[in-house]
């Protein structure tokens, strides 16, 4: 198989698009945080890029996307660690003619954003060092196995594949691997960390809604690479994924603001941004298996259900700060299950027929099994990882540090400086924020006193 330049160009573009989603997510989450912790929130996303990017090259790709010998149903092997065995001219073995390294890069960006998604649940209170360690351990023990289960096969007729792939459950671009996985991991992490100080009594309103909208827009833009790029080629499968990524998202955004209008009296910008993300999440697993009308149905259902699901945390008393559970876990489940109803081989013969296309309930059963397996594995392993990190180094910052703001106490920075008192005058800045020698300051104060008193 020679390199196909058209497919390769689209996949390079898609990898860049999906990488941009994580900075987009940083804005989406950062705007929803309070002003005193926006930097930490954005930093959690950016450090996921730094850590997972390296992990992916060193051993991540190999464990997720190569044969694991007798363990192949559950995990890959270390044969391609460091990508040393990959020739730059090698092409992916699915006949799309893209260099293997392009596939590696594309998949790296998925692992990165999955870890970053979890951070929204632990606003204001996670020790930064503990979070960095968590990203490393979590991507290794949770993401790599699940990605292998769902997406890996050796491409041979009757060959080896991950157990969910073999089962025949469908997940085109990561409903289980990315969204359900990150959403339920967020729930487990929150149960270990506990609530923010003052939640839910104190108002913790978003500090910058324009950031949230900017983030939602960047996520949508990047998501075309996520969904249409998952075709691994620039052709008709990418086309259907692309149109569905537009229309399901429109439907979910619209459904969310209608629910708000009926329930709260106003349609809000946070609502339309949340609806956009809920729609993107829900269409992710289904985008190449349903018709555009099916995509509208998925969007409407996901937008409406997620708009209610974000209220669950108040009823059940867990502080999922920015609704990772309510949007990503719930939205992912909606999309994964609706495949069982709406999928049709008329769109993509690599897919399957769901209930409405005359395929019976078999596919829905397989989808449900994939969802439950992801929920169970991710929840249990994440909880254990979080608990161990908590016991070893403590996962939460001190109460005083949290109240003062994690930006200042963990990163020695603050996001905004609009006040003349701190920024305006050179003199204040020099005394207030430059490193000064206490002794020198005291001497000059003493001189001043003597002058005044004569």
């Amino acid at each position: 198989m020679t390199v196909d330049s058209g497919n390769t160009a689209w996949m390079l573009t898609s990898a860049a698009l999906v990488l941009l989603m994580t900075p987009g997510l940083a804005f989406f989450y950062g705007g929803m945080s309070r002003a005193k912790s926006v930097l930490n929130m954005m930093m959690m996303s950016f450090v996921s890029i730094a850590v997972v990017g390296m992990v992916w090259v060193v051993y991540g790709y190999s464990l997720a996307f190569t044969s694991g010998g007798s363990l192949s149903s559950f995990i890959g092997g270390l044969g391609d660690w460091g990508l040393v065995g990959l020739e730059t001219v090698a092409t992916a073995d699915d006949g799309t003619g893209i260099p293997q390294l392009v596939f590696v890069a594309f998949q790296a960006t998925f692992a990165i954003i999955t870890v970053a998604l979890i951070s929204g649940a632990v606003a204001d209170r996670a020790k930064f060092g503990a979070w960095v360690l968590f990203t490393l351990v979590w991507v290794t023990l949770v993401y790599l196995p699940i990605a292998h289960w769902v997406w890996w096969s050796d491409g041979e007729e009757g060959g080896k594949a991950g157990w969910i792939f073999e089962l025949g459950a469908l997940d085109f671009a990561g409903g289980t691997v990315v969204h359900i996985n990150a959403g339920v991991a967020a729930l487990a992490l929150v149960l270990v960390l506990g609530k923010r100080r003052g939640w839910p009594k104190d108002p913790m309103r978003p500090h910058n809604l324009p950031f949230v909208l900017l983030g939602a827009g960047l996520l949508w833009f990047g998501w075309f690479g996520f969904n249409a790029g998952s075709a691994l080629s620039a052709g008709s499968t990418a086309a259907v994924a692309f149109i569905n990524t537009i229309v399901a998202t429109c439907a979910a955004a619209f459904a969310w603001i209608i629910v708000e209008k009926l329930r709260d009296g106003s349609s809000t910008t946070l609502g339309i941004a949340s609806g956009i993300v809920a729609g993107l999440v829900a269409i992710t697993p289904a985008c190449a298996f349903v018709t555009p009308l099916g995509a509208i149905a998925i969007g409407l259902v996901a937008g409406a259900i997620c708009a209610f699901a974000v209220g669950l945390k108040y009823k059940l008393g867990y502080d999922d700060s920015l609704d990772v559970v309510g949007v990503h876990m719930v939205g992912g489940i909606v999309g994964a299950l609706l495949i069982g109803i709406l999928a049709t081989t008329a769109v993509n013969d690599a897919g399957a027929d769901g209930l409405l296309a005359g395929g019976g309930l078999g596919l829905l059963g397989k989808q449900a099994l994939a969802v439950v397996a992801t929920l169970a594995y991710s929840f249990v392993v994440t909880w254990v990882i979080a608990k161990v990190i908590d016991l070893v180094m403590g996962f939460r910052i001190a109460e005083d540090d949290e109240l003062a703001g994690i930006d200042r106490t963990a990163h020695a920075e603050t996001a905004y400086d609009f006040g003349a008192v701190r920024a305006g005058s050179g003199a204040t800045a020099a005394v207030g924020s430059a490193p000064v020698h206490d002794e020198a300051v005291r001497e000059s104060q003493d001189e001043t006193k003597e002058e005044v008193r004569g």
């Binding site: 839910p200 309103r205 709260d264 609502g271 209220g311 108040y314 609704d323």
Partner: protein
Amino acid sequence: MKLITAVIKPFKLDEVKAALETFGVRGMTVSEASGYGRQKGHTEVYRGAEYKVDLVPKLRIEVLVDGEDADDIIDVLVKAARTDKIGDGKVWAVPVDTVVRVRTGETGPDAL
């Protein structure tokens, strides 16, 4: 000498300034303030969660005046700031011991 402090609705600032100028008040300190009296705040909704915002944005005006003019100045200030709706604010005055103009060192009424 007296210090008159007025907490008023923000959009009333220009009218109040004009009214005070008729009495020769040539300087004032204006700061943004938040507070509440009998006026209740408003409610905001984020993802269905309601937040009551009790503190209402106001402006706080401070002027130093000669004691004899204080009552008249308060009168025009109140007339200028009034909308007859709830939340119009408050005005009060307190006696002042010492005033110094920083540039010249003038003190007392000369410094006003």
